[in-house]
């Protein structure tokens, strides 16, 4: 028991899981587990804390944040996520870089470290799928995407698992990004149509907004010109001073944050003054727990203010670890030192050999039976 390895999943392992299980199954499982976890949220089984972190302007604008979640008697999950909008253009890396870790609440041991880039994209899609299923028109036939970057891929994928769309309309201010979108979603069976922003807004039943709009440069979408039952997943507002929807649009819709405290800080809700907080509806988990109470909103304009919740990262991490275990994937590395003798931080075995002080510093397990 004293020596416990940490499971490290490589990018290659994630690819192996995706290939073995299939992206559709992974997405479906994530959506189902997330919806279930939201029914537990707030009863002591599952706890989360708002993300904290560091925002900086040098060497480029960026931030690194910590997103913790706790599942009673099981684990603490932590996503460490970076948002660096210069990444794709300056160094060929994703805007959102992230890793997820799980810790055992029995003893503090680091159970696993896994990718959080693929995972963030999948769980962000899954979150929009859960919200849309509850708030969007049940006969939604057109999906609209404003912003065609990495997040749009999994938004399109997740929503396509819930609805049988006739059309997927996509718009991006960057023609290069817009043009490559079709290639990126072809393997998912999605055939998007490039459209103007106005057309996306006018024709879509469900709209996912996921842009890299600059600080203080929003909003991207204003009120008007949309279907009376439109449901918007506002995915890209996840940073103070970054927002995508106009306040008039927020105030004229049923506005559902994923996590109010965080949404007021970094989501669309950050734009509202305290006097305007009355226009904010319940958090998503409340709707998951009593969907029938909110079904009538499916015919009205609704917004999911998706700042990204650590609970979804916890679930995604558990999904990946479970699949890795089932497939026998991942490296097992002893990382935590000093477990040979819990009372001696200098007592790791190969060190004692190295210094030839075996007798004096040898692991002493007598403490265990004390």
């Amino acid at each position: 028991m004293a020596q416990r390895a940490t499971i490290i999943l490589s990018e290659e392992n994630i690819g192996e899981i995706a290939a073995a299980v299939g992206l559709d199954t992974l997405m479906d499982e994530t959506i189902a587990r997330l919806r279930h976890a939201l029914t537990l949220f707030g009863n002591g089984e599952v706890e989360i804390q708002p993300r904290t972190g560091f925002v900086y302007e040098t060497p480029e604008m960026g931030l690194i944040e910590f997103m913790p979640a706790y599942r009673r008697d099981q684990n603490v999950a932590l996503k460490v996520v970076g948002y660096h909008p210069g990444n794709p253009f300056n160094r060929g890396m994703p805007t959102v870089m992230a890793t997820n870790s799980l810790y055992d609440v029995r003893d503090g041991h680091l159970i696993a470290v896994v990718d959080g880039v693929f995972a963030t994209a999948v769980r962000t899609g899954a979150s929009s799928a859960v919200a849309s299923k509850l708030l969007a028109h049940p006969e939604s036939k057109t999906l609209g995407l404003i912003g065609a970057g990495a997040m749009a891929v999994t938004q399109a994928h997740a929503l396509s698992r819930m609805y049988d769309f006739d059309a997927v309309l996509v718009h991006d201010i960057d023609p290069t990004v817009e043009a490559t979108f079709a290639k990126r979603v072809a393997a998912l069976g999605i055939t998007p149509t490039i459209a103007s922003k106005e057309r996306v807004l006018a024709e879509s039943d469900i709209i996912c907004v996921a842009t890299s709009i600059g600080l203080d440069a929003g909003p991207v979408v204003h009120a008007g010109g949309m279907k009376p039952h439109v449901h918007i997943n506002a995915v890209g507002a996840d940073t103070p001073r970054k927002y995508e929807l106009s306040t008039q649009l927020l105030k004229s819709s049923f506005l559902v944050p994923d996590y109010l405290e965080q949404a007021l800080n970094e989501g669309e809700c950050q734009q509202l003054t305290e006097e305007e907080y009355g226009c904010i509806g319940p958090e998503l988990h409340k709707i998951v727990k009593a969907p029938q109470d909110y079904a009538h909103y499916q015919m009205k304009p609704t917004i999911f203010d998706s700042t990204g919740v650590s609970l979804a990262d916890q679930i995604m991490t558990e999904v990946l670890i479970d699949q890795a275990q089932a497939l026998g994937l991942g490296q097992h590395i002893l990382i935590e030192a000093g477990c040979d003798d819990p009372m001696n931080p200098y007592g790791f075995s190969n060190f004692t050999h190295g210094l030839h002080v075996v007798e004096s510093a040898a692991p002493d397990r007598s403490i265990k039976s004390a």
Copy 2:
């Protein structure tokens, strides 16, 4: 650039570093780098945030906390630390389990994951050494240890690097722990003497208190019966409702927290009422910056309220990574997925082979030159 590996140091690597470099050199380097970093603290070069986390009573009393530190233009360091006092007795594991991670502020990449158990013990010793050098009697000849667990090993080690002690007195309420202490520090050239708590207090110039006293069960040390110039490193109070020194002792000494916000929450200072905050002296970094202004306290009773600061973990992590790089140690694993195409979270290369959709989902780097 797009594909960047994460360095994973194993426990074995830590042992190899300790054996190659020597524990004395590692400790000396950590003390020197910590003292230097404290001179930068507060000028924007280095930022820290108070730890946050989850405290729970099931399945056993424990907590898992996150300790972040930021170094401008370089990295964000995060220690995730568990405190589970049942570990040594119930499962042969250290009370303090921890891992340290470093993230690149340029792009959010996870640079490294390394042990935090050995590291926490070393940096906690180093912190006491920095504080003692500034606040303890310069001719200190007797070191006293109250609590002879894992932390006592590195307290004794670090202080022995700063002072030429005639005697090291040790006391623990658990005779088994007390009895094994000599064996655990023999390789460090330290020959301790078991003593009553009263004798430790009466004869020591510097006292390190590092116990696992239960919540609401303190204090362990009361005012009186100590030398007029005694310096106490209060190491074990790092949790709300856990404290080791009496308020009378705090109020009759020059009281120096490592990090006030944290000390008020979990350190000895948590015991003080707001009306008593006036008895709290400056944070350690202020004394490091102007040692001559505080030199006269070396002749008076002083207390270092050491809650443990993420800055020290950042330094320790940097020391270990630097040494590992110099020695060519550690495994390099690509963890973050989706870096083949920053706009496609499903675009990792082995997956596209797996699903035979090479054409549609192949990495597309055109975005890089956009």
